[in-house]
Subunit: 353 residues, 2 copies
């Protein structure tokens, strides 16, 4: 298996070192061998190559079985024109590789739930998998341009039925591996695209009679995530709604720094990254929480390599670290002392081997 | 002053009776006289006139100084084609009257904060005014249609600079009357429309040097509303983002049934309605919470009639009812017994006079 590492910006470099360490430990523990190659993306690619997504990076990723990404972005590049900003690297690689399914599991860690902004009885027991369409919709629709001498503007929300079908299939399949409940989120009372979305979900549901389907309007979903997060199993939605709702969901458990994500396509190739950003304020200090990145490595084993044992071993090692009282500064624990990025990574590796 | 009443569907009729009662009491208390006229909208208009927005309703509203709306919608009409559904009545009247600014104040009531899904130290002190653009964007952009023999679909996010300027002006003016802080929410790292939006906000900010402006991406805003709701003063955003974020915000205080909203245009004409929906499950039982509707009447006095004393008197009366221990069934109080819609309304009127 060939893996590309894209550390990116800010804390990305530090947590990528953690990912590498855990990856190597897992490989030797389970007798695998991987080839790793590092490439540039985001702000650091801008600095080196004057583009957030160099051709060499696209080419290398195109030949990889999986990609690990740290984080992109930072104030330094915020004043560049849109087409040259770090985020374009991320959007570009998703599109170039056709990574249409973004998987964002949101599940609390019992020992961290006290840090949730929600009352414990509300967040307790929540275990949501948000599946966001990642290569269509408003993000990539054309025209996206100024008109009328710069006095008007349009963006275009475009979907093809095929694009909806493949993400909806992915969602039904995921629901089958979980609690057989799928919530499809749209705005069918306003958008024509949502009405097509809803039709596809209803059609597809006939192929998955064992999965219960519910349609929810996006505004109602934004409320229900807060009032009854434990009522969701798998949620599927289009790109922009998914961006908003998955970030909303990511703060519910109180441990954003712990959350992993996967962006995959049908043949299993995928890009794995933590949900948190590049956190420039703490970059270089060695205090970033590496667990979101490390749990992303676990997702890579599961979704790109079909190595469930390895994935579960990493997840178990992370849970054990928390149970042993290890935590990083972001985790808002009352007692004890927080450990560094490196110490946390060592603790995971020790529990793993 | 001439006021149109649109009770609509479900609990709409019951809470409109409350609104009328409070309106009449306020009028006689402060020596005003109003003419009231009732019109049909939503599902009940479909039943009577086969359209969610009869011409007569549009015409009457066009001649009014203000409009009170109960709620629209219900399962009964959910299977109708999109163009014939109750919601179209609401969208249609907003557009027909040019009510471009939706104002949604979100502020907790001390005696109800225990019902918030958020921990008390997080929600405590929050006082947000969300200003949503209401007649542009994805809601009304064309084309909005199927293509490629029904296998593809587009919706269009369209804004003209003027449309952005007027809502941004409204937001700056509102911030001036509050804590001089404005958060503009967009997705400028992806959408061209958001980049124009951001330019307009930056331009306008020169006219309001006394207001501090901050730009926030919509995904980050969805997180911050939950983690730091007390860090917002006025928030302004486009139509679809506003739909999602204002509903998200509406559940934070734990008393959705208490929240009013205003949809206004520059000359002061406005439509006032509670944030909650038609609640078919409790319709006709006389238990609906009338306070969101009654507080919407207060907003009418404030925004359409510039009668601040009257608005404040109604708001004070509502607060006094809560302090006296009155509550409706939705409010999740531990002690005592809940009162009916009618009893709550009487209590407000008594405190008012
Ligand atoms: C950086 C940005 C373009 C990106 C997105 O909106 O998709 C990010 O918010 C995400 O969710 O991965
Ligand atoms: C009923 C629906 C079309 C409407 C909207 O999306 O604007 C509602 O959700 C609202 O926020 O008033």
């Amino acid at each position: 298996k060939h893996i590309i590492l894209l550390p990116g910006d800010g804390v990305g470099k530090e947590i990528m070192a953690s990912a590498k360490h855990v990856l190597n430990a897992t490989a030797s523990e389970f007798g695998h061998s991987f080839t790793l190659q590092q490439q540039a993306i985001g702000g650091s690619a801008i600095d080196q190559y004057d583009t957030p997504l160099p051709e060499a990076t696209i080419k290398a990723c195109g030949e990889a079985d999986a990609i690990l990404l740290g984080a992109v972005g930072g104030e330094k590049w915020d004043s560049l024109p849109a087409a040259k900003r770090p985020e374009k690297g991320l959007l570009g690689i998703r599109k170039a590789l056709g990574l249409f399914a973004n998987l964002r599991p949101v599940k609390g860690f019992p020992s961290l739930l006290h840090a949730s902004p929600l009352k414990e009885h509300i967040i307790d027991g929540s275990d949501i998998l948000i599946i966001r369409e990642l290569t269509g919709g408003l993000y990539f629709g054309t025209p996206s341009e100024r008109r009328d001498h710069g006095n008007a503007v349009v963006d275009t929300l475009h979907y093809h039925r095929d694009e909806i079908e493949r993400i909806v299939d992915k969602a039904f399949q995921s629901a089958r591996l979980r609690h057989h409940h799928l919530t499809s989120v749209d705005k069918a009372n306003v958008l024509e695209s949502s009405r097509l979305w809803r039709e596809v979900v209803d059609d597809k549901s006939k192929e998955y009679p064992d999965v219960a389907v519910e349609h929810l309007l996006v505004d109602a979903a934004a409320m229900k995530l807060i009032t009854q997060p434990d009522q969701f199993d798998v949620m599927v939605t289009e790109n922009m709604f998914g961006d908003i709702l998955s970030d909303e969901a990511s703060v519910l458990t109180g441990s954003l720094g712990m959350l992993p994500s996967a962006s995959v396509r049908s043949d299993g190739v995928g890009l794995y990254e933590p949900v948190h950003g590049s956190a420039p304020d703490i970059a270089g200090k060695g205090v970033a929480n590496p667990l979101g990145m490390i749990l992303s490595v676990a997702l890579m084993f599961r979704h790109s390599f079909q190595m469930e044992t390895e994935a579960a071993a990493i997840e178990r090692a992370v849970h054990e670290c928390l149970a042993q009282g290890y935590y990083t500064a972001d985790l808002d624990m009352k007692d004890g002392e927080s450990v560094s990025t490196g110490q946390m990574t060592e603790a995971v590796v020790e529990n793993l081997t």
